[in-house]
């Protein structure tokens, strides 16, 4: 795999919010750890008061949205490198498959690996895998995202 282009991880929320189209209270990713031309590594510390937390557990929509926003963050950084001033709006067009093995507790840290499988015009196919702090896989998915603007 290519080496990450990022010199250091992007951990500042302010900076993350410049790279993704989603805004609070619907932000489900908070760091970009690695970036290559076709892969990304992201993370999220699940706030206890996150809107998609229920009974102290991050819900299925939360986990899937986190994977989608991880892709969004990858794309946002790609746009930044290309000189775009603000991220394009993008959303999920289809989910080929998603599998959820277990739901993380609020307060825990997610690490997600995204891989760009194909890009055609404004549609991107992406694979994602989310792990907990111990490296246990919580969920995997393959989806297509669509950008507009």
């Amino acid at each position: 795999m290519d080496q990450s282009i990022l010199k250091k991880p992007i951990l500042e929320m302010e900076r993350i919010l410049e790279l993704i189209p989603q805004k609070p209270p619907f932000v489900m990713v908070d760091r970009l750890l690695e970036y290559t031309e076709s892969t990304g590594k992201t993370g999220f510390v699940i706030p206890k008061d996150n809107i998609l937390v229920e009974n102290a557990v991050f819900s299925e929509p939360g986990l899937i949205e986190h994977m989608a926003q991880s892709m969004s963050l990858w794309r946002g950084y790609q746009g930044f490198l290309a000189g775009l001033e603000k991220p394009k709006t993008g959303f999920i067009g289809s989910i080929k498959s998603v599998e959820i093995f277990s739901l993380p507790k609020a307060g825990s840290t997610l690490t997600t690996y995204v891989e760009i499988l194909q890009e055609f015009k404004n549609v991107t196919s992406v694979g994602a895998r989310t792990e907990d702090e111990t490296g246990k896989i919580l969920a995997t998915s393959e989806m297509k995202t669509v950008t507009v603007d």
Binding site: P21, Q22, K23, P24, P25, F26, V27, I51, L52, E54, S59, E60, P61, G62, I64, E65, A68, T89, F91, I92, G93, S94, I95, K96, S97, V98, E99, I100, L103
Partner: protein, 121 residues
């Protein structure tokens, strides 16, 4: 419900093996402040979740989404254009899981197709 005050169930009925529920979305819900500023789009993951909550209510059980395949978002659900959504689905049920196939539609047409497997918890 996962999201407080996000929607209400206006009607709920069964026709043979098919279940039909009419959902009314609260267009002023705070999620639209973030998804997206100046362009309200109901998040696809939230639309998917409506099916789970609807089955939970009907059967009075708790479920967890295990798998979903070929989920297609055919049209954006902007609650300012149309905030009424029909969920139509059928499912198979055993002691461990529920396999559901469904669509969500507005007066404009089909907005979502879903195939999902939920585990009973």
């Amino acid at each position: 419900m996962l999201l407080k005050d996000f929607y209400s169930v206006e009607s709920s009925r069964q026709e043979g093996e098919n279940y039909i529920s009419l959902i009314k979305i609260n267009k002023d819900h705070e999620i639209y402040q973030g998804h997206f500023p100046r362009r309200p789009v109901t998040p696809g993951v939230i639309l998917m979740h409506l099916f789970k909550e609807d089955v939970e209510r009907r059967l009075n059980i708790s479920l967890q989404l295990k798998k979903a395949n070929n989920v297609k978002f055919m049209a954006v659900v902007d609650p300012n254009i149309d905030n009424e959504l029909f969920l139509e689905y059928h499912f198979e049920h055993n002691n461990q899981e529920i396999r559901l196939k469904g669509i969500a539609k507005t007066s404009e047409g089909i907005s979502l197709k879903i195939n999902a497997i939920y585990g009973l918890i």
